[in-house]
């Protein structure tokens, strides 16, 4: 059953058509049967599951307390950890195989970072012209056929550690998959190598070589603080993917401020910057449709093998379109862990099938004069 399911999902990820609703219910049956922790939770739910929307969600916090896995843990080939703080345990996501995880990364990344209707000639031209020097991705840990690898002609500069340096970071692994063997990583021993990165940006500018920059928002803020009055004009076609929040890592800036800094300091316009929404507990990432549309947008696409539900925290029911609520993610590529994850992020679903991420619940305003959990963490 597991192998059949894995193959079906694999084909779905590769662009095949399938029935999400039916597949989700099969995965639900599989995960209930093979994860006693999840089964115990499902058995407490008041109503039987008849449609995919009723599948019980695993809260992200559960990854800190229990193994959320449908296989014996010694069989895990990889485990990714959330960034736990000193007061909190880290959550762990165990993988029996990275096949679905890596397969979910590639097409989605390509569709959102390696397209550019604003000036298609730049990138597509580069892609065809430069075939001779295309690099073949070597993910190091992959089980995926090399022919599936995602080629890119753009040099990839990642403001993260390499997968080798940070074997438990899902972000580092993901960037390793998309960036390939040519990808350069600029974090070593927890330090952003600012001089080396600046030097590299300089070289790229002089060589008139467009680049793809990948990193967390706070790493980019560090870079911009370091650059100060130094300005780059990276060649047309250069683009950036930023992800994640700022929690305790650097000064916090808003998304418009951050994007202005990209434009001012690096010469990358807002219509070539893409925000990625991903988390350790998932296998699939979600990207702003900015490059696909050729204009900046906060709306994120949902790939066919996943679904987003916005849940009204007051009723526990799905929120109407356009209303704020907690983001619940369905991700079939999470076959061996949990396909349905309840996040701690607020979001809005739109009629066109996209959704917006509004931020962590923890950062929301509180009433009253009592100290609460969040102000304690802040200290």
């Amino acid at each position: 059953m597991a192998i059949d399911l894995q193959q079906r999902i694999r084909a779905f990820l590769a662009g095949g058509s399938d029935n999400f609703a039916e597949l989700a219910l099969e995965v639900f049956a599989f995960q209930c049967a093979n994860n006693p922790i999840y089964r115990a939770y499902c058995e407490r739910q008041p109503a039987p599951v008849r449609s995919w929307k009723a599948i019980p969600a695993v809260p992200t916090s559960a990854f800190k307390d229990f193994p959320i896995a449908c296989f014996p843990l010694p069989e895990a080939v990889a485990e990714f950890h959330t960034s736990g703080t000193t007061r909190e345990k880290a959550g762990k996501h165990y993988f029996k195989t990275l096949e679905l995880y890596e397969a979910a990364i590639r097409p989605n990344f390509e569709q959102h970072l390696l397209v550019g209707p604003a000036s298609p000639s730049t990138l597509l031209g580069t892609l065809s012209l430069s075939k001779g020097r295309l690099s073949i991705v070597d993910t190091g840990v992959t089980e995926v056929d090399r022919r599936d690898a995602c080629p890119t002609s753009l040099p990839v500069l990642a403001l993260t550690p390499s997968p080798k340096e940070a074997p438990h970071s899902s972000l580092a692994h993901m960037l390793g998959v998309v960036g390939g063997s040519d990808c350069e990583f600029f974090v070593e021993q927890d330090t952003l190598l600012l001089e080396r990165l600046t030097h590299r940006l300089c070289e790229m500018q002089w060589a008139n070589q467009p680049v793809l920059l990948l990193g967390t928002a706070f790493a980019f803020v560090h870079l911009f603080d370091h650059l100060g009055n130094t300005r780059f004009e990276l060649p047309e076609g250069s683009r950036a993917m930023e992800t994640g929040g700022f929690k305790g890592r650097s000064r916090a800036v808003t998304k418009p401020e951050l994007y202005q800094l990209f434009t001012r300091q690096l010469g990358i316009p807002a219509h070539r910057i893409v925000n990625e929404y991903g988390m350790t507990e998932l296998s699939t990432q979600f990207y702003d449709a900015t490059l696909r549309h050729g204009s900046p947008t906060d709306h994120k696409d949902v790939p066919p093998w996943s679904r987003i539900l916005i849940m009204d925290p007051r009723t526990g029911q799905e929120s109407p379109l356009g209303e704020r609520g907690l983001i619940r993610v369905f991700d079939l590529a999470n076959l061996w862990s949990s396909q349905c994850i309840q996040t701690e992020d607020l979001g809005i679903a739109h009629a066109d099938g996209t959704f917006e991420v509004l931020g962590r619940v923890a950062n929301a305003e509180v009433r009253g004069c009592s100290l609460n959990a969040e102000s304690f963490r802040k200290e």
Partner: protein, 404 residues
Amino acid sequence: MNTTEIQAAIARPGVFPQRTPHAIADALVQTARLWLAADSPWRARAIAAASEPTGFSAAMVNEAVTLTFEALAQATFGDCKFSGEPPHRITHILSGNVPAPSIASICRGLLLHAVNLVKSSQRDPVFPALFVESLREVDPDLAECVTVLHWPRSETNLTRAALAGANTVIVYGDDDSVASVRALTPPRARFFGYGHKISFAIVGEAALAFHQSSTGGRGSRRAEDSLSPATGSGGASPTNLGDLPTLAAWDASVYDQQGCMSPHVFFVGNDAREFAAALAEAMENYQQRIPRGTLSIEEAARAAVVREAYEFRSANDPRVKIWTGAPPYPWTVIYEEDPVFTPSCLNRTIFVKPISTLDSMQAWAGKISTVGIAPWNDQSRNSVSHWAERVCPIGQMQRPPMFG
């Protein structure tokens, strides 16, 4: 609102009227009685106006009126003292939606013969202004000494103007807001900042006995010595909780747990789980009488994240159990064997934990407002008095003295 208006309010030439402290206290008590009278129009106006900005249900606003003005009517005015130079002109920056501290601050200013400029909070623009209006009915000259205004926190030029004319500044709020007002306060003015605090409660002979032994106390007394006639909350044996759960639910539910005297955790000596079950029933009973207010999506989401995390844990961990009211989940009781203090997401989410140590409270030193205890006696009180500004019986946590 502009700086001229604010400057006029704080620098008004009005001389404080000739009043003895006794006459001022008398006027304040009379005003409190206007609010407590049967069919009081002031109460009705507060209920009509305050529900929306405070987020409290009408029944909770009604309860807030009773609590605030009973405290004022019964206040010991001699407790309101001030050392050093008299505060001729006070600027009060209020915060939050719990009215009692705001009303107390205004009363304190008047008792000290000061002219007062009050910046009400966004969450409660109603009570301070209505209170001054009701005072005007009793003593118009005294009411002239208070001006209540509201402007957004972001208008720092207005705040600066309000602070510039004062010789004393009193600020309530989270640490960040207190610090930001302090930075705007002229150096010659005296500054009093009251940051946010937390509270908790300890239940049962065994809990208090444990604590006494762990802090070198003299051990517990027999249960019958400790019955408290005032609250009936003593003798908390697991088989005879009496009305203790009801009193505890009251402490945890009033002001939807948003006051700094609202408990986050009940530490329980014996049979904490049983206490939690009884508390859950009492929380539901209180909800039936005085419903929790409507939460914003953010607040509801915060509570949902906590609730769902513990629901998942409780399915797989016998050391955790959770009780909630039906959607919109107006209350949540979480029993957790882990004895470490866990700050609540508030809005009637309360933790019950067995007590094995209060070490986790060390991290909160200086930030603890109130510790509620049962049973209540001299010995139990002394055993925890070093933890908090105030120690009181469970059931009295939300009834602090007006000028304590």
